[in-house]
């Protein structure tokens, strides 16, 4: 269906070639959904043309002139059918008179055609203008779109793009791929007529890459080192250093745990164990498909098998949330609405049958509560929950929109799986989802990763990829998807490619030359500058610690901090038990966050000049006021203070007799600035 749009556009804008015409015909003839789309699109096009002419006064005169008649209709407004009717009636009367006075068959000697508004230009009957129509590779959605049950199934669902063949593992050269990314992005910039912003300053970039790869800001030592480093490839070194840190895998684990089970801590699962599982997967750079497969087909006690906690969190409500969450997270497809509703855009959205076919893979899954006798209370209490598969088989029943009971069998990407009880459905689903030619999982990973680093995906909304969601750079998405598949879903390499690309190094400052790049206006993002992203709650917490706690030693530090962080976060998040098992948060630039930042214990202790705090250290270093302010600024914001800031702070220092307090105030100001809470 994706390739239908470029054909339609070519038709409407007059550049259709004979080949394309043949393609279009084939699609329309073979696929009723394509037919419907064709008709609706052409009706839209026609209506726009028709209406435009109606309101264009000049047209009516020119038409009349062209056909050599007297202008039958006065040259102002229209849409007033009354006038038309009056004219036409008199015309009709005239015609009747004239015609009856002639012998049949009447040859229309009189031009009787009422004034017909002209449409826009013709399809060029000469060689069409050389316009590049984007017939290039567009990611195909493997999920085919079957018709509503009552219509007969088509003989063959037209494969509109060549079926992706299982790729022979081609060696991907990292440097070359980065160059490819750069040139594909440049193409979009040139086409859109924008010039990218300049490269980000060192301090700007360092803070960004730390936040993105390590999940927190750089401490002032790292800032000092980097700013003093004179090597030409220092940025590359930083990337390597960061990926080698335990902070890297911890950060990724945090992000994915949040995605998989949300932040609210009151779900009865072992969230920490899930995070640990993910951390290990990322630390050892296991292929993404392996992680996905393990999560989807996990079995066992939630307190022993980390990955089981994903589905343990979502197997309520007849596995509807599990289905929706699985599709949304790993395939970036929104299927939850199709559980009950027809997609308003049936040729793009999935059908109800598809939802239930996916859901039926989860029908065998069940949760078993493990109880142990507790002598203190005298009751058998639940100590943990296990995810198991029951040997049940058969179809899944659901009601369609007409109240008719229907059946669904486990089917994914057009592949049916035996509904026998002995078949392990979730294992089969895991296998189907992660087989080598499964582009959706690759494309979804690419889109999510891109969105993570750039603030917006190549397709937005991130988790709603499909023909109805336009892609900002289809060629780039395709190239990265292919590369991910060719490297066997190597997560680390994907991350590296992206942070080594030119676009990742651009400043976030908008220039006059890329004003057109305004995704907030609904335009497709061009990524001609780095879009500003807010810090996540975890990043904020970790960064506060980095900025303010002086003694942080090694990997164990972060583990110790995890409990503290979880407690801090729990103030903001609550579970919503609905079809999607979402989170309600009061975090995110709101009142609660502001209060926490301004008055919370964390910040208060940080500026208390207690031993072990950064403030304590800085106040006692040698150097003048300016030096100390510089240290504070580097610790908080990763950059040097601006002259305006220094000027603003002088009076604060003048008016205080205390040694540390004024610096504490200055530090507080930096920590509470909006600059601290954003990633730019």
């Amino acid at each position: 269906m994706q390739s239908l749009f470029p054909l339609l556009d070519a038709l409407c804008d007059g550049s259709l070639t004979a080949d394309q015409l043949a393609q279009l015909e084939k699609l329309v003839l073979e696929d009723p959904q394509a037919r419907q789309l064709y008709v609706e699109y052409m009706h839209l096009h026609g209506t726009l043309a028709w209406d435009a002419s109606l309101t264009d006064p000049a047209t009516l005169v020119s038409i009349a002139e062209r056909s050599g008649e007297q202008p039958l209709v006065p040259t102002t407004r229209p849409r007033s059918y009354a006038r038309w009717v009056a004219v036409v009636v008199s015309m009709a009367a005239a015609l009747a008179l004239i015609v009856t006075s002639m012998n049949p068959p009447a040859k229309p000697g009189v031009a009787v055609a009422p004034v017909v508004p002209t449409g826009p230009e013709p399809i060029a009957e000469v060689a069409p203008p050389a316009v590049v129509v984007d017939n290039g590779p567009i990611p195909t959605l493997k999920l085919d779109r079957p018709l509503e049950p009552q219509k007969p199934a088509p003989a063959a669902v037209v494969a509109v793009s060549p079926e992706p063949k299982p790729l022979a593992p081609t060696a991907i050269n990292d440097a070359e791929l980065v160059r490819q990314i750069d040139s594909l992005m440049e193409k979009v910039w040139v086409d859109a007529g924008v010039t990218p912003s300049p490269v980000a300053e060192d301090s700007e970039w360092l803070r960004r890459v730390y936040l993105d790869l390590a999940g927190h800001i750089p401490d002032s030592d790292a800032v000092n080192r980097f700013l003093a480093d004179t090597r030409a490839d220092k940025r590359k070194h930083v990337i390597n250093e960061l990926i080698a840190l335990p902070d890297y895998s911890r950060n990724l684990a945090t992000i994915w745990t949040n995605l998989l089970v949300g932040r609210a801590s009151t779900r009865p699962i072992n969230r920490d164990l899930l995070a640990k599982f993910l951390r290990e997967q990322f630390r050892h750079n296991r292929p993404w498909t392996e992680t996905v497969a393990r999560l989807v087909s996990a079995e066992g006690d939630g307190n022993e098998v980390g990955e089981a906690n994903f589905l343990l969190a979502h197997l309520n409500n007849e596995a509807v949330p599990a289905t929706a969450v699985t599709a949304r997270i790993f395939l970036c497809q929104q299927v939850q609405c199709t559980q009950c509703h027809k997609h308003p855009d049936p040729q793009h959205g999935g059908s109800m049958a598809q939802f239930w076919e996916l859901n039926s893979f989860f029908q065998q899954a069940d949760i078993v509560e493990n109880r142990k006798y507790n002598p203190a209370t005298g009751h058998n209490e639940v100590v943990s929950r296990s995810l198991v598969d029951r040997e049940v088989g058969g179809p899944t029943y659901y009601e369609d929109l007409n109240g008719v009971m229907r059946v669904a069998y486990p089917k994914f990407a057009g592949q049916e799986v035996s509904p026998e009880g002995t078949t392990k459905r979730r294992q089969e689903l895991a296998r189907l989802m992660t087989s080598q030619d499964q582009r959706e999982v690759a494309a979804a990973l690419v889109n999510r990763t891109w969105a993570y680093f750039f603030g917006l995906g190549l397709v937005n909304p991130i988790d709603d990829m499909g023909p109805h969601s336009p892609s900002a750079n289809p060629e780039l998405l395709e190239a990265l998807t292919k590369a991910v598949i060719a490297t066997n879903f190597n997560v680390e390499r994907l991350n590296r490619w992206i942070v080594s690309s030119r676009a990742y190094h651009l400043s976030s400052t908008q220039t006059a030359k890329n004003e057109a790049d305004q995704p907030v206006d609904g335009e497709l993002p061009l990524f001609s500058r780095m879009y500003i992203k807010p810090l996540s709650a975890e990043q904020l917490f970790d960064s506060l610690l980095v900025a303010t706690a002086a003694d942080r030693a090694g990997a164990s530090y972060w583990e110790q901090v995890d409990d503290q962080r979880r407690e801090w976060l729990s103030q903001f998040y609550q579970i919503l038990e609905n079809e999607e098992n979402g989170d309600a948060s009061t975090f995110g630039g709101t009142f609660s966050q502001t209060l926490m930042m301004m008055n919370g214990d964390l910040v208060r202790s940080a500026i208390s000049d207690a031993p072990g705090t950064v403030l304590h250290k800085i106040v006692r270093t040698s150097g003048d006021e300016q030096d100390r302010i510089r240290h504070l600024c580097r610790a908080a914001l990763g950059r040097d203070p601006k002259p305006k800031e220094l000027a603003a702070f002088q009076p604060v220092l003048r008016h205080s007799n205390a040694t540390a307090e004024p610096y504490g105030d200055i530090f507080w100001a930096y920590l509470n600035s909006s600059e601290f809470a954003i990633n730019h």
């Binding site: 015909e25 064709y38 009717v85 399809i123 308003p344």
Partner: protein, 172 residues
């Protein structure tokens, strides 16, 4: 040949059918200028057979029959033209087209609202593109923007409009 049995009802029916007829024909030809020509000759035939129209039956269905025939005639006359749809295409699309034109008025109203919802820049672009006499190429050069970008934008905007209309129709 006499005129319509009852001009006071026939004429409004005729006038109201103009736009849907145009859209119907456009779906079969893909070319608005050709559609316009064919509409003109269809109108001629409609008037010449006006006395055959049976009051109370569907005017539009009757007119579409005539239009379809005219489309095929036009095709015959332009036999050598490479860029035309096959007869099979015309047959298949005819039916779909007629069924979709039931709510043509609704759609047109929805379109007006959806146009209002567009960002100003997009609305301007559409207005420019569909200004009578304008081709896609003209628009690009008038705005001083690369053709490709303009085509992509137009395609995107049309898609947005289509989705908006469908949503409104679905919501009733």
């Amino acid at each position: 040949m006499a005129g319509p049995q009852d001009p006071t009802t026939f004429v409004p029916l005729f006038t109201k059918a103009q736009r849907p007829l145009f859209l119907f024909i456009l779906g079969l030809t893909g070319n608005p200028q050709a559609a316009e020509e064919i509409l003109a000759s269809t109108n001629l035939v409609i008037w010449s057979k006006a006395d055959q129209f049976e009051q109370g039956t569907s005017f539009f269905a009757w007119a579409c029959q005539i239009a379809r025939y005219e489309v095929l005639q036009h095709r015959q006359r332009h036999r050598r033209d490479k860029l035309k749809f096959s007869e099979e295409f015309i047959d298949t699309v005819s039916e779909e087209s007629i069924s979709r034109l039931d709510d043509a008025d609704l759609r047109s109203q929805a379109l007006e609202l959806c146009l209002q919802k567009l960002p100003t820049k997009d609305r301007e672009l559409i207005r420019e593109r569909y200004r009578p006499g304008n081709t896609g190429k003209d628009v690009a050069s008038n705005l001083g923007r690369p053709q490709n970008a303009v085509y992509q934008s137009l395609g995107r905007i049309r898609r947005v409009l289509l989705e908006c209309i469908q949503r409104r129709i679905a919501e009733g």
